[in-house]
Symmetry: D2
């Protein structure tokens, strides 16, 4: 029996989308965190059980308007799983009330508001200082800052996958910052739970297609973070996402030019193993074993594999993860664990049920 005193109280805002749903699901089996407030807009007043008959009765809660005072009364930490542009209308009030916030949207992923506005456009925002304060929630490369942060901006599935593949190369100067290509493949749950025609099974089933080939909005975020966390000069990336006929899973195949041309896959793999040795949520595969998204499904683990092409001097890094866990809600819980000085993978599944 876990004493109630040990439980940290968490509010989840935006509980009917996949991000919120997965967060609640994870917290249901988390030994130290407890959902004490469920906020939303469209589903106010409905019982949680109605929204998710497939989850355990779990929190005996109804969805409430995300009123900052009510949230502050009920919770110590908040996970915001709202559409882009929405989190920034709520987060300042929460922070002012002393809550710590983990945001799953793009609102605080750019240190400078003008970069955000260039990509996402939209209305004026008065919270520039919070953008500057927000910590990029990629634990493997930003753990210390996350530990003490008030506001964590969790990267989504594409940047997480791409940065886990790229940063060890950039930090060590193993890859030229110019000409890097990220060819990404995602399941349709990455597009969210709102009904949209192109995400219908009848449309997306039995099909693969690229989208956002020129200037996808995640590109700029990755460029900035790759340069910052990779400690390299500014760089530009080609990022090409593809929509695949599957529910969950994300694979990024990352290509670049080796800086030291003769470097072997074994040498780079060895460097990756060093980099991720103490990271419970990343696994580096042996040379020649390529990751399937299925090996990472419904876990919070990213799988990485390195190959090289000696004829062309290129390095290829393949990275697979579950877009809704390590690429979204699982990463949020990983950040919460760090913020609370709990073991980092507490309550996070790391082993799949295959197949």
């Amino acid at each position: 029996m876990v004493s109630a005193l040990l439980l940290h109280r968490v509010a989840v805002i935006g509980a009917s989308g996949y991000g919120g749903l997965q967060t609640v699901r994870l917290l249901q089996s988390h030994p130290r965190l407890q959902v004490t407030f469920l906020g939303g807009h469209g589903s106010v007043g409905r019982h949680w059980r109605e929204l998710a008959p497939f989850l355990d009765p779990g929190p005996d809660l109804r969805v409430a308007q995300p009123d900052p005072d009510a949230i502050a009364a009920a919770a110590d930490l908040v996970v915001l799983s709202l559409p882009n542009g929405r989190a920034s209308t709520l987060a300042p009030a929460l922070l002012e009330r002393g809550l710590r916030v983990v945001d799953l949207s793009a609102d605080y992923r750019f240190p400078r508001l003008e970069d955000w506005r260039q990509v996402y456009g939209g209305a004026e925002r008065a919270d520039a200082r919070f953008c500057g304060e927000a910590v990029y929630g990629l634990p493997e490369f930003n753990r210390q800052a996350i530990a003490t942060a008030r506001l964590v901006a969790c990267p989504g599935c594409f940047p997480t996958t791409s940065l886990l593949a790229l940063l060890p190369l950039l930090q060590a100067g193993l890859i030229l910052p110019e000409g890097i290509i990220i060819d990404a493949k995602t399941g349709t749950s990455g597009g969210g739970r709102e009904a949209r025609q192109h995400l219908l099974l009848a449309e997306a089933g039995e099909a693969v297609a690229p989208y956002g080939v020129e200037g996808h909005r995640h590109t700029r975020e990755m460029e900035i973070q790759a340069a910052t966390l990779g400690r390299t000069r500014p760089l530009r990336l080609q990022f090409t996402p593809h929509l695949l006929p599957m529910v969950r899973g994300l694979l990024a195949t990352v290509y670049g030019q080796l800086a030291p041309p003769g470097c072997s896959a074994a040498q780079i793999t060895s460097h990756f193993l060093d980099t991720y040795r103490h990271q419970p949520c990343v696994e580096v595969l042996p040379v020649g074993v390529y990751p399937s998204t299925k090996w990472a499904r419904q876990t919070n683990r990213a799988l990485l594999s390195v190959a090289t092409n000696p004829h062309t001097g290129q390095v290829i890094v393949m990275a697979a993860l579950d877009n809704l866990l390590k690429g979204q809600a699982g990463q949020a819980v990983q950040c919460l664990n760090i913020m609370l000085e709990l073991p980092e993978s507490t309550g996070l599944p790391l082993t799949p049920f295959y197949p």
Copy 2:
């Protein structure tokens, strides 16, 4: 009513795999070609109808041993849909008997036998001269040679897609031959109809994974043909195939460095439109419209779209087709049409049933 005199007689050898199956299916609704011999190994003596209860009773034929004399008595042309290494044990005898042969395997795709052996290894072959004589069956770039050929080596789905994307760029000097990357995504039918564990729905369903990342056997074939048909210096490619959870369809996303750096997507699209203007089986999409494999499914049409990244000086060509038609059996029929001076798309579906 079509007069029987006008019908060309075709033997299909290897009728129980997907290549043979699709060839027979296409010929069933072809106005000028008729299947008059069905050859195979495992299924000798069985009636066609038993192998394919889903096809029209069509040819009232039983599968027979592929005896060259029997084939020569029954047919004028032969489509070989046999495992690699098998076609070359049969083709010489067929050619000697005056038959014209379209081969779907890799056996005659390399002008020089030593290149073939380097990739496929295997037993000694005594038919080097046929390798030299064989014509690479990519109609859009080799029509004249196909028209008069005795032996056509049809490229499979990966080289067809990749070359249709690359050759207009290479021929016009729009892309640097160095550093080209082909990131390909294929449905599982590309792996054939023989039962193999990794192609089970339970394994390949809800998953995406790369394979053959280092030196896939199609890489060398593409390198040789890209240089030859592209009229450029020898080149090396990075080719990364990925297995997707769908039945049919192939998408190649091709990346390279623009030779004239400032070239726009509109300019290159215009060049593609010129190149393929009179090609009934290739369609170039407007800038910003990206191809879905679903738009090409169960058709013999390849769809191409061009994008550029002005920040990185890269060009991206996306090419989609049906791996079993334009990537296999449909291309064979397209070649047969050319060999017989029929309109090139005779009997070939060009419009999908969406969705």
Copy 3:
């Protein structure tokens, strides 16, 4: 070359849903029918090509408001592919202008308006006499009435599949009208192209679930037609549809109690073969061969197979078809062919591209 004089002019209203889309697609390759008017609501003014970049440029048409006079000026026949309740607001005006109408909705499937209202509820309708006049568009059992009809109400995928399985049994008194069960399995395209959450790939993928178990709205229609066309006493059915993770295809497994208990599968199959001998769009499979929806996909053919259970005295009929063709648009074209005294399967694919 087909003379333009021979082409019948067809208006398709509701062109952006799957029903309209498939109808246009079929008519594109129909030798005697031509789309001359495209009507819709949401997409007025848009060029057809924008709605369906995957179809041949085909009809150089823009979507127009479905104004009865404009339709009458442009076309001789009309296919209505509109939401339930919508067709009946348009059909009377079309009929009054001398057009012949094939309706894909449920509006005219009930001879008596009160039956319709009981199931579909909704607003008052002033067109009771058209309900009485409308002909149920199941060609295999209603060909003569269709041939001369002004207004044909095409049954959808569930009733078509179920009635093709049941009617031969009912007409011959081989099955008790009491206790019949129809357990149906459908792909998600049956739910239409409008974005709805439960039809998202992320929701419907990797899942099967029943729906509408108690009193699905197709049940009453099937009960009435089974009794009428089956020439039997009134009956009540249990109809249970299930949503499957696939794009196209419908399988109905129909169970009933044999009236003559000792009847064998072979005997009943023989009766089915007699019933459907001259029906080009129905195929009866040999005993022991069970239909896959894949054998019928993208064709206008229904596949039937009969089994019996001697221990329980039950008969089981399995029926598979493509829900968007024989279950929707293909059936409409089949009806048009009959209305115009063309060979019934003109322009309709009957053989699949497997797999």
Copy 4:
């Protein structure tokens, strides 16, 4: 930290199939059971990690020949996940050495050997007495016998689903034993991990088809157990399995004639709630909520829902579960828990990660 003294040692024989794989996976996160022996045939000598790179390194074991003495030295309990006919060649020797055995095959599911032989045919067996001793491993209806059993024959996915739906009705006399129909829908993983053509994604994808319609081998097992555990007169069932394009999941839609004709869904649901009140692995849904296999996926929970048709006097029970967990390995672990007097759902996931 769990003391090693508390861990029960389990041997898993047949570790490379899905049954063995899932068993090992479950035991990896089981707090009281530990895999201490991995037995197999094809993969002897290979390290576990090679067979399952996607699982945690977990047991540092190589696959060994299933030698009874070696097993007895290493383990206290054995899970046999072998092809039908294979378990019975090993189980007697294990029992004689004092091990307790849970068998996932059909070998011990029939109390009388002659019933087994009638269904499975095959070689002579000398272990008739073990057939008589074996306990049918359906915990919800056989818990006490399982608790003390030496040999437990776990029912597979079809009988488990069907019996959970039927037994409450039969035991309470709510359904006529005559004319019961089980229409089942299964994902392809139910067919095992061995490569077979009809289970290829290219074949089974985008398709649904019935199989084994007449006398499927699970029918007899269900008939015997339904009568025995349902405490009713002997009965005959119609069982129709269908293969669906998904990896995991099983849905059975069970139809029968209500014995008290006027019984409502609410009344029967209330009886189901009573029956399963203390069963942690069964959940009864409210009237009108129908189960999706997705709500049960990767859990050991079966979901049940009851509907009735007042017009026909029929009852419809829908039952969904994960075929590899509650329908196979999870049920084995549930039985092990009972045999060891552990809480029944120890180490078993009960809540899905949706979607």
